[in-house]
Symmetry: C2
Subunit: 283 residues, 2 copies
């Protein structure tokens, strides 16, 4: 997905939100805003939002000297999600369609996103994801392709959300490779976060090589790109991965909650909607 003009004020909001997690020095925060302003003319609307996110969070690290401002918040998110894990597992197992319920739960986990907002309520998100209609629901294609798939490449998104992904992985009964960010960026999951969520018990964890808050291909490692090329069933979680991968040619399913108006517009849905969207499925 390209960037839109409306993304620009939001880039400054994101920088300010991340900057404030890293420091309360108002002078440093103004410097962060100014630096982003100076570089704005280099940011093309043809680039994807996570490419700019990568630039922003690099600036946050440089200016504040804090390499991983979200570390504590990430750990806390994972721990809170692990507390919910047994009850969510039970909901999935007791439901009429365990796979679809696991997909809903995985989407609910996508609300754990400090890039979009400073606050969220995971319990409400679970309730909504279990009860809401999908705005886009390519579940039939998802099931068909899943049956054919020998293995799955699952591109993760945020720490904490990883626990919800684990529940879906456990329902799919296929070998899964779970890709995370190479370096900390916002609250996106790294290998450490995925292990804390217990993903290592159900999948092979790999790095995508990127430090962007989304799988922006030209920032990913050749090994990860090779994996994408070889995969016949790819799940990409969350807005950042949608923004990075939605124009690519892979057979892929996006699981997300449309948390921002711009992405909702791009998908043709309403802000707040839940989405299971397949691309290049041949159907």
């Amino acid at each position: 997905m390209k960037s839109y003009l409306d993304c620009i004020p939001c880039f400054f909001e994101q920088a300010l939100r991340a900057g404030r997690i890293a420091t309360d020095d108002e002078h440093a925060l103004k410097q962060l805003m100014d630096e982003l302003g100076k570089r704005l003319h280099q940011i093309s609307l043809d680039s994807t939002p996570p490419e700019t996110g990568r630039l922003i969070y690099r600036m946050v690290r440089e200016i504040t000297g804090n390499n991983d401002p979200y570390r504590e918040l990430k750990l806390q998110s994972t721990q809170e999600a692990l507390v919910l894990y047994p009850s969510l597992k039970r909901i999935i197992e007791e439901s009429d369609d365990s796979l679809l319920t696991a997909i809903r739960i995985a989407i609910a986990g996508n609300v754990i996103d400090f890039g979009v907002s400073a606050t969220f309520d995971i319990e409400i998100a679970i309730k909504e994801a279990l009860e809401s209609d999908f705005a886009i629901c390519d579940y039939s294609a998802f099931k068909d392709k899943l049956v054919e798939a020998e293995n799955i490449l699952y591109v993760g998104d945020n720490a904490g959300e990883t626990v919800f992904d684990r529940l879906l992985i456990e329902q799919m009964n296929k070998p899964v490779t779970y890709a995370v960010r190479e370096n900390p960026v916002i609250n996106d999951a790294t290998i450490e976060d995925a292990v804390q969520a217990g993903i290592d018990k159900v999948a092979t964890i790999v790095s995508s090589g990127t430090d962007a808050p989304g799988a922006v291909l030209n920032t990913c490692s050749p090994e990860f790109r090779e994996m994408l090329d070889q995969s016949t069933f790819i799940i990409a979680k969350g807005q950042g991965n949608y923004e990075g991968l939605s124009n690519e040619d892979y057979l892929m399913f996006f699981l997300l909650k449309a948390k921002c108006q711009i992405i909702a517009n791009d998908l043709g849905v309403t802000k707040g909607d839940i989405v299971l969207k397949g691309i290049n499925t041949g159907t």
Copy 2:
């Protein structure tokens, strides 16, 4: 009022909103964002938001070549307000406290502000202003000082809102000088807009000399500053005038609706609250 870090993303939103009224050329709009970005390091947090507003709308004019993008919207707002005038006049005259009701109506008119949002509902604003409690209500001081005042300096805000101001002016029974912006900026009232609202029938209209969306003193004319110095009863309408004048030493009453979170914080009220705040009243 100084600027806050949270004003910075909002400056970009304001520029985009105004730019879009002036043009639909995406290239020009990106250029507008880029220019604002480049100049951001020159914008001190010690400056007031309307000083930056002035810079932004100058850039909009320069880049889009449109000197008064809100002209049609302003005329439309005034005409719509004039349609409401007779019924509002009746509400004021039939109320137990006509002066206070006229103040409430004048505050309701403050919702006509394209600088804060692209949409608003004036009928709802009137209902709310008539029924809501004031978050700050220095009405007692307002009445006392009004009795003593020989004349009134009324610093207007937006076109259309001018009609609501006229209703308050008609209730005060004192000679009123009504100050407007020198040049078009957002939908702020100029002399032309004030005349269209019929302010010339109830007050002497003067220019404050500024092209900022608020009475920022160092951008106002010496004549207007002299007027402020000489006045013993000043009414300043709206957020822009509050931002420009709240730290000055004049005896002054601010009438506004707190439409943005930052101003609400500065005033110690909740966003959406209505405010009648006196400063330097000696009480």
